[in-house]
């Protein structure tokens, strides 16, 4: 049992927080992203914020209310957002040619912020999973929170153990944002293929 607990609560690896080597690595990683015309993300777990940047400039920022993690803390490295996963992904509307001309009353058919999920997982390269959620306000959100509890404290630790036994890297990070809209806006802003990195405490 102790052995299992040891595997599950793996000690963190990584450099000392404010060491010049770490800061240098952080700047180097960011500079390699800032040189490109693409937007990039930084999950700053110590500063409890998520930023979307371009050319070293913050374009948008989201404050993190709480953060927890399982698995290894990794050395700073550029990651790619491989995919976003949610129970009910937003669906694009299909336009029927000629429908607008048939005298139908105008109906807005568009993907908007309110269509985005507020609870979802981000799959990054190198076996890193980030679970994003917001503060539950309504009953259904409360039910989702219970689901999240079982996922985070039962399923994810088992996955961590499984990856360890297979000697594969695994990191799961749980992030709670203040409001539903913040969580939805983050989902909207991070497109598949976006690059960035996670900065651990």
């Amino acid at each position: 049992m102790l052995f299992i607990l040891f595997l599950v609560f793996a000690p963190s690896i990584g450099q000392e927080k404010d060491s010049p080597a770490r800061l240098n690595l952080l700047l180097k990683e960011e500079y390699s992203l800032a040189k490109t015309p693409a937007l990039y993300f930084i999950f700053d777990l110590d500063g409890k914020s998520i930023v979307l940047k371009s050319k070293g400039m913050v374009i948008q920022e989201w404050k993190i209310e709480s953060v927890h993690s399982w698995g290894e803390q990794r050395l700073l490295k550029t990651l790619t957002l491989l995919k976003k996963s949610t129970l009910f992904p937003p669906q694009r509307k299909k336009i029927k040619p000629g429908e607008a001309e048939q005298g139908n009353t105008f109906e807005l058919e568009a993907l908007e912020l309110k269509d985005m999920p507020s609870t979802y997982a981000l799959y990054l390269s190198e076996g890193i999973y980030i679970y994003v959620r917001s503060n539950p306000k309504k009953f259904i959100s409360g039910v989702r929170s219970i689901g999240h509890f079982f996922n985070w404290y039962l399923w994810v630790p088992l996955r961590n153990l499984g990856y360890k036994l297979r000697k594969k890297p695994f990191t799961a990070i749980d992030i709670k944002l203040a409001g539903k809209e913040e969580s939805q806006a983050l989902y909207w802003a991070l497109a598949d293929g976006t690059k960035g990195f996670v900065s651990y405490p």
Partner: protein, 152 residues
Amino acid sequence: MQALRPKAVYIVIDLARNTLYLKKGSEIIRKAVISCGSGSILEEPGGKRKWVFDTPRGEFYVKSKITEPTWVKPDWAFIEEGKEVPKNPEERLEAGILGDYALGFGNGYFIHGTLYTRLLGRSVTHGCIRVGDNDLKAIYQAASIGTKIYIF
């Protein structure tokens, strides 16, 4: 990294909130309610072509500035209305619906005006950015060729 940042005014477009910011450094000079791409899909009958009406994301720059722009309707505009795509190029021209100014940022995408001001704040366009008249004038006057545009 400071050297990479724009020194002059630049534009930030928040697609999720349909908001445009004209900024210099960290200062917001102007904030405008806009309309962005609907994200809807149009398929040509017969399945030959497909369009996804997203506003592109990333870093761009102003490539052209036009006054009193005329819309050259692309094929999808006719297909969406259930009409035949005209062979005569002059049948594609539609004046007066893009407002007083337009700023092009590549691949046929523009920041331009709109007749549908009641829909500003909603994601209703086919990819372009629609702005109200007063805001558009201010942005047009402030921006120049090469002004950076960041869209997320």
